[in-house]
Subunit: 234 residues, 2 copies
């Protein structure tokens, strides 16, 4: 009987291809099949990050899905989209799934993992998350010593955001998009606006750092973050 | 006039040398001077992680300091310990400072950064944090979609720990050491003990995963973490 292929979920980091780990590179180049997701009609960001290292002899599997999907919709789409990956695995071919950032930290790999890891030998390789890449790109130490650090998704109501920001030493606010104006108002209200730093597409060639009050709330991309570094400085 | 050397703060990741990034490897191997901290009379963990990649022709600078230091004491010690690094930089030699995990995320590099970055050109390279490495080593997706995630240092009072745990979807509790028993009691009290996962020395050769209730509270090392993955599963 033919051995099944192995599934690898590989974090490719935030954007700069040099932020892949040595382990990610080794597994990526050894795999006959490379899979990644892509917004419809757009280049896959995960593939773009890994592209310098693709061997040219690999089968590529793309799964299309809109970004910032509701979980229910994502689940329906993934049920269908993992089928080609499963076929390669069943045929004995190892498959590397490329994931922006880290696979288990707000990573889309979870949808693949929950479906396929019960059936196929699976290994996950951590990646540099934007949570670490953004403070480094901004040049500001983020947390230290006994700080509490909280990751907050911007879609939550302003009152909840306020409660959480008051309870933490350092914070990262993500998924800003159309919620940016609300978040900025909250930061001003709490006196945190002067400490908050805004960055788009950290470590990508299009990286952009903009003072908080100069950000156009109608032009905030998916890959953006507000970092509030600890005030407990040395 | 001689050009000053450049200072690099490089995250070497959680323990597995293969979790260095390609950028960290390149800068590490190009630098004439490599610096790292070490507990007195112990091997430096950061150096051990990077050791497969040292060229053998590099000057090594060790700064000795106890772990889990109070910031005030750390500041006094660092004032003295950064001096040899500054001398190399002033003499025109680039210096790579190795940092376990990520330099700006609870990293000891902050003490070096605050002292030397005003005077020398400085570049920081993010590293894989144990925050990402632990869930991957445990094989459990950590956060997804619109989760709130909180990093909590174990030394805080039990009542504060309870407040923060009730307010978050996912949590990482670090700096357990002698606070482990208190943390475990809190997790039982909140009904979180069955979801909480304990791990020591993630990705190191001595990695150990122990069921929460089987951990000996008197034998909890510095490199240990409790991960509470989101219950908002797919």
């Amino acid at each position: 009987m033919q051995a099944k292929g192995r599934l690898y979920g590989i974090g490719v980091g935030p954007g700069d291809p040099e932020l892949l780990t040595l382990k990610a590179l080794r597994l990526l180049q050894a795999a006959p099949v490379v899979a990644y997701h892509s917004a419809v009609d757009k280049e896959s960001i995960a593939r773009a990050i890994a592209s310098p290292y693709l061997t040219g002899n690999q089968i590529e599997v793309v799964f299309h899905l809109p970004r910032a999907l509701e979980p229910e919709t994502a689940n329906l789409i993934y049920d269908k989209e993992v089928a080609p990956i499963a076929e390669h695995l069943a045929a004995g071919r190892d498959v590397v799934v490329l994931c922006e950032g880290d696979p288990f930290f707000y990573g889309s790999f979870m949808y693949v993992f929950t479906r396929l890891s019960p059936h196929y030998q699976t290994e996950v390789v951590p990646g540099i998350s934007s949570l670490m890449a953004c403070p480094v790109a901004l040049g500001v130490p983020f947390t230290y010593y006994n700080d509490i650090m909280t990751v907050l998704p911007a879609p939550m109501p302003a009152e909840e955001l306020i409660t959480h920001l008051l309870a933490t030493d350092a914070a990262a606010i993500m998924k800003l998009g159309r919620h940016f104006a609300k978040v900025r108002d909250v930061l001003h209200q709490l006196g945190l606006a002067s400490r908050a730093l805004y960055i788009e597409r950290a470590t990508m060639t299009q990286q952009r750092i903009v003072p908080l009050d100069e950000v156009d709330p109608n032009q905030v991309p998916y890959f953006s973050m507000i970092i509030i570094p600890t005030k407990n400085r040395l």
